[in-house]
Amino acid sequence: MSAVLAVERLSKRFGGLMAVNQLSFTVEEHEILGLIGPNGAGKSTVFNLVNGVFPPSQGTVHFRGADITGMQPFRVARAGLARTHQIVQPLTEMTVLENCIVGACFGRENLPLGKARATAREAAVFVGLEQRLDTPAGQLTIAGKKRLELARALAAEPTLLLLDEVLAGLNPTEVTHMIGVIRRIRERGITILMIEHLMHAIMSLSDRIVVLNSGQLLATGTPQEVANDPAVIEAYLGDPKLAEQLQGDG
Amino acid sequence: MIGLLASIVDGLLVGSVYGLAAMGITLIWGVMDIINLTHGAMIVAGMFALYFLVGIGVPAYAALPPVLVVGLMIGVALYWIAVHRMVGRPPLMSLLSTFAVNLVLIGLGTALWGTVLFNVQFSLPGFTLGRYTFPGTHLMAAALTAVIAGLLYLFLYRTRTGKSVRAVAANREAAELVGIPTTQVLSLAFGLGVALAGVSGTLIATMFPFTVLAGDAYQLKSFVVIVLGGIGNPTGALIGGLALGLLEGLLTPFVPVSWTLVIEFVLFVVVLIAVPGGLLTLARSRRT
């Protein structure tokens, strides 16, 4: 199995703050890799570095063998890497379907409008938004917007999907539904790198876990290994609830 | 060479007033992320205020306090009319709303006074050094700018209200959470910005003649100043103003006046593209 994403010695400095420090990890094809860490560990920054929102201060990012370090976001998207945002970014005045059509038109396949419509519809149905295709995105509930974020990314038919806290703010029913959707995404052959705070979800979904603390790699391994890693537990002791979850669920 | 030096010094004097005007814009921009396109019209209003007050016998510099107060009131009113609903909306909307108010004001101005040149008739004894005399009005304007800027600092850094203005500028939601009445603060900030514009107009009118349409040029200069000094930064505005004044001082002996504005605009666009945070941020980041 080859690495879909290879991040090497990635670093990002903001003024005096080292947000990400010499981080290296890979994401293997068809796996679900979980990226966890206490608040402020730098997880979203890693995503921003990977998809080109900021250029790294140091290090490289390789996507399917090609060097995409510092490449502009739209080019990264065109290469087949889609991402969702922690704070949802719907195209508010456009409908759900139109949002997805944008994803389909400008994603990896670069589809013309006609074909994009079909792909977009399929993606919206996949996440469960078929009743809302003509609703303006701004009118959706937070759960709806999160699903739209996901549908839009899927419509681009990516090889790698970056999910940034896609479960945050959802109630337990919605979480269960989303987890099912994520599993089905993987079944379609899409590799997933996900940031999540909901421990039981990410532990059960991920094949492997990468733990970040203060911008640095703390541990990697299977969910079991990571949950029992003393260094990880110590990092989370600052957040006792999470530490409990870590130990409790595994 | 000494002529150039004199020109530069004079440029610095006038530039300080540009800085004052720019403080008006940068305050509003920094606090509520809105560009006040009525700025030019407010500068002209300050100019007219001087003209009429002097006309009824008020000593020139005594016009400043009423302009400050009335400017504040007008600014607060403007905030409620055109700006309040625009806070947080796409920038296009607030641009257009302040632009619309500007149209109304300048339209009224040209309807009433056409493009006639107004000149406030008075002068002060100048300061002579060798062959060169620095106009007293310029010196006085620079001095008063320093006073007003000083008062602004005292307000922003030493009073409770001032601190709440800075808090809202830093993070509106957080300020709201700690109990600061953000809407009132925003209206106050806008009022202050307009008052500063008016006062700078009054000072400019003590130095130069003006027309209803003069506001455009000074508004442009204010934008150039902010871009030089950094947006949302009152100190930067002053420094930027001095820098612009310096530039004008360097240019006037050699370049016809009609070109100065073009050069300033090119400068504006170039600096905006090259250093979005303003030149001062460049200087700052070099130190860290």
Binding site: F74 | L96, I273
Partner: protein, 321 residues
């Protein structure tokens, strides 16, 4: 197919009205006011490509009109070119210049971009005022001989009118085709959330540049025709910001982001202006009314007239654009 969509035919109808109305009774006055309306529609629709789709306000859009005018007048007066070719060449020249300006200012966001466009207009005006081959601040006068190839001055005015109506039609169709195309979708996405659009793969720098150039071409051609008609061009007329402003008001009044909005807005604005100019008290207050109108629209009806119509009758969305 495109021909099935009603709007395609609605534009055609508008053009027909413009073409036929002044012919009835050989009404020269009507023709002149329709000509002005056509110019407003051209300016507003093309402005809309940036304003309504990407959300970028081009305060100085008049610069395209003025420069197009200068190129055309110069090519005809000094180099002896024919009208059509000079106007079109002007269109290309100005689009190219727009591309160059765009390289610089399109990197700026929102408000900065808007201010920079004023700068471009003022800068170009100052430059042209000092540019002797183009007559400096006095401008260029054209000899009436140039109307001869068109059949003499009276007939030439009709020819120019129809050419402008054609340009107006093309502007409306261009605006329409962009809106229903993939390019247009990308522009609309940029207007909603530029960063999100980029992350979705919309090639934002290239699309903005294309939109900017596209929005320059037809106003430039129109400028050429307009100033040739007057046989005279000078910097203060060519780069009059008031014209730009009115185009913005019209686009907002009619409904930014719609194709029909600028046409509707131009019609309403023209009516309003006509009424104002005849009224003694109000003729000086043109700008004031325009400003007040804009303020009301921005505060209470940012979608303009079309926005209001769509809100009231959502079915209209399927017919009009």
């Amino acid at each position: 197919m495109i021909f099935r969509r009603p709007f395609f035919w609605i534009i055609g109808l508008v053009m027909l009205v413009f073409a036929v109305a002044p012919l009835l009774g050989n009404d020269v006055q009507l023709r002149e006011s329709l000509l002005l309306a056509a110019v407003y529609i051209i300016l507003a629709s093309n402005l809309n490509i940036m304003l309504g789709y990407t959300g970028y306000v081009n305060f100085g859009c008049i610069v395209f009109f003025g420069l197009g005018g200068y190129f055309c007048v110069y090519l005809m007066g000094t180099l002896g070119w024919g009208l059509a070719i000079a106007a079109i060449a002007g269109g290309f020249a100005v689009s190219f210049l727009a591309f160059l300006f765009g390289l610089g200012i399109l990197r700026l966001r929102g408000a900065y971009f808007a201010l920079a466009t004023i700068g471009v207009n003022e800068g170009v005006q100052a430059f042209v005022s000092n540019f002797d081959p183009w007559g400096g601040s006095t401008g260029i006068y054209l000899s009436t001989e140039l109307f001869q190839p068109l059949g003499g001055p009276a007939r030439a005015l009709w020819v120019i009118y129809y050419l402008l109506v054609a340009v107006m039609g093309i502007s409306l169709y261009l605006s329409y085709f962009i809106k229903v195309s993939k390019f247009g979708l990308g522009l609309l996405a940029i207007g909603q959330n530029e960063d999100a659009a980029a992350v979705l793969g919309v090639p934002t720098p290239r699309y903005k540049a294309l939109a900017y150039c596209a929005s320059a071409f037809l106003p430039a051609v129109a400028g050429g025709l307009y100033f040739f008609k007057g046989a005279f061009i000078q910097p203060t007329d060519a780069f009059d910001l008031q014209f730009s402003t009115e185009a913005i008001v019209i686009a907002m009044l009619g409904g930014q982001g719609t194709v029909f909005g600028p046409a509707l807005g131009a019609y309403l604005y023209e009516e309003l202006r006509g009424w104002l100019l005849t009224s003694e008290t109000f003729s000086n207050f043109q700008l004031v009314i325009a400003g007040a109108l804009l303020l009301v629209i921005v505060l209470f009806a940012p979608g303009g007239l079309m926005g209001w119509l769509y809100g009231r009758w959502p079915r209209l969305r399927k017919i009009l654009e």
